[in-house]
């Protein structure tokens, strides 16, 4: 039963989606520059298999690196804002303003600032776009900790650090993972923004760009699908981590 629900149902849904897509393109008679169909895309994968592998890896590791930075920095910032009201009131407007800037406009600035440092640039954009939800969720999780939770340990003379490790941190984990699910997708967008807007020949974004310059439309669509697959992969890694670390909060 479990196998049916976890594997067969999603697989069947995917297959149905591909069939409908193929049928739609066929019925409408669209040329592949308007909308490529699955049967157009498959040859692109076969033809450029090695390019897909190399570029997927580049996109993946830079996304994960950016996300890892976002987790460390976002959690630290969230802790500061969660525990100090002054920090919260001072930093929130700044953070919201920073988050409101479309990152597409930041990409050329970063590219100029650190010209030539392609990997660093890309990781930086992935980080900048994804730390915000993590910082906000950690700060909210910590600042809304019910006073009784603090008091049961504080009444025994426990230090603030002890209360943080034993209660505040584990209690915030569900919110943290909620934010991480958003952040993982954002980090992907960040990596690809850099790869596409400021191309330097690396990552799936660059492959997309070369498809565009060569009018290889099936290749462009194939890149989109590859990005979706990587996104799904990372998302489920987060889900697995959540189950391992905050499984108690998951209600079946």
């Amino acid at each position: 039963m479990n196998l049916v629900h976890k594997v067969v149902v999603p697989a069947a849904a995917l297959l149905l989606f591909l069939v409908l897509w193929e049928a739609l393109v066929w019925v409408m008679g669209w040329p592949n520059y308007k909308m490529a169909s699955p049967s157009d895309i498959w040859p692109a994968y076969v033809k450029y298999a090695d390019l897909f592998l190399i570029n997927s890896w580049q996109t993946l590791w830079r996304t994960v690196a950016g996300l890892a930075l976002a987790i460390v920095f976002g959690t630290a910032l969230g802790m500061v804002m969660g525990f100090s009201r002054i920090a919260r009131e001072g930093l929130y407007p700044l953070l919201v303003g920073f988050n409101a800037i479309p990152k597409a406009t930041v990409v050329p600035i970063v590219a100029l600032m650190f010209v030539g440092a392609h990997d660093f640039n890309t990781v930086l954009i992935a980080f900048m776009i994804s730390f915000f939800p993590i910082a906000v969720s950690v700060s909210i999780g910590l600042s809304t900790l019910e006073p009784e939770y603090r008091d049961i340990l504080a009444a025994l003379g426990a230090s603030k650090v002890t209360i943080f490790w034993k209660i505040a941190l584990p209690k915030t984990l569900p919110e943290f993972f909620g934010a991480l699910k958003v952040a993982v997708t954002l980090a992907f967008i960040g990596t690809n923004l850099m790869e596409i807007v400021s191309p330097h020949g690396r990552g799936l974004g660059a492959l997309f760009d070369s498809g565009k310059t060569n009018s290889d439309y099936p290749l462009m669509f194939a890149v989109l699908i590859a990005l979706a697959a990587l996104g799904i992969l990372l998302y489920y890694v987060v889900i697995a981590l959540e189950k391992a670390l905050a499984g108690w909060a998951v209600r079946d």
């Binding site: 019910e146 009784e148 025994l156 209660i167 209600r251």
Partner: protein, 269 residues
């Protein structure tokens, strides 16, 4: 005169600074509980009852006056105090047994891990939670969580137990069950109790002394000595004696709320 009271609150006043200006909650409050005694504190909503528990627990220091425990002035939290709240505050990521053992991770003890676990299991059995040690809090009912919370408050063998409306959120039958459990626990694990409650029946069923606080800023308006001592059963609540005590207490609450003139006699309804 014997020894000094175990809990001794001497002329305590406290004012909170709030957004809408200073708010004085306590005004010259005196309250003493002898060792092994059980004092219930009742009073109108918002009269500073919870502030009182935080003062005794050493979580805050009063502006004026002194709080003494065991002949020592309370200035910081101390591990000889156990606390339970209306919210059972179970840590969802721990099992019931791990929840109960939490205080022993903070309080320095000479006991081994095994002895601590034995004590936690013994307390859980005492409150009727045998067999639930490895369950998660989310698998237990509200009353059961409150029982576990009681075990956690007692596990490090505190001599003072502070109960801040622990039964307030439970249904009437569960609450009465827990009242009886409290008596059983106190027989096996003696403590000096300070109970905050809104339930007058609860106050005379559990305590040997009921203190009525006045409206804000609160002082001890009236002290009722409950003539029963030790364990009692629910039938006691339906005696003439109990009815008289409840009439007096209800009248005192009305005075505290400003709905009856001070000093007016308590007329049976």
């Amino acid at each position: 005169m014997g020894d000094a009271p175990l809990i001794d609150i001497k002329h305590v006043s406290h004012t909170f600074r709030t957004k809408s200006g200073p708010l004085q909650v306590l005004d010259g409050l005196n309250l003493a509980v002898e060792e092994g005694g059980f004092c219930a504190v009742v009073g109108p909503s918002g009269c500073g009852k919870s502030t009182l528990t935080r003062l005794v627990a050493g979580l805050m220091i009063p502006d004026e006056g002194e709080v003494w425990l065991h002949g020592q002035r309370v200035k910081t939290p101390r591990s000889t105090v156990g606390m339970a709240f209306q919210n059972p505050v179970m840590l969802e990521w721990r099992t019931i047994l791990q929840n109960v053992m939490l205080p022993m991770e903070i309080v320095p003890t000479k006991t081994t891990k095994k002895q601590q676990e034995e004590r936690a299991r013994y307390l859980l059995a005492l409150v009727g939670l045998e067999g639930f040690e490895d369950k998660r809090p989310s698998e237990l009912s509200g009353g059961m969580r409150q029982r576990a919370s009681l075990c956690r408050a007692l596990v490090h063998q505190p001599d003072v137990l502070i109960l801040d409306e622990p039964f307030g959120a439970l249904d009437a039958f569960t609450r009465e069950d827990l009242w009886q459990t409290m008596h059983q626990v106190k027989e096996k694990e003696p403590f000096t109790g300070l109970l905050i409650t809104h339930d007058l029946r609860e106050s005379i069923f559990l305590a040997d002394q009921v203190v009525v606080l006045s409206g804000r800023p609160a002082h001890a308006q009236y002290v009722l000595d409950v003539p029963m001592s030790g364990p009692r059963d629910l039938d006691h609540l339906y005696t003439h004696e109990a009815a008289e005590m409840l009439t007096i207490l209800r009248h005192q609450i009305e005075i505290a709320q400003g709905r009856a003139p001070a000093g007016s006699p308590a007329e049976p309804a």
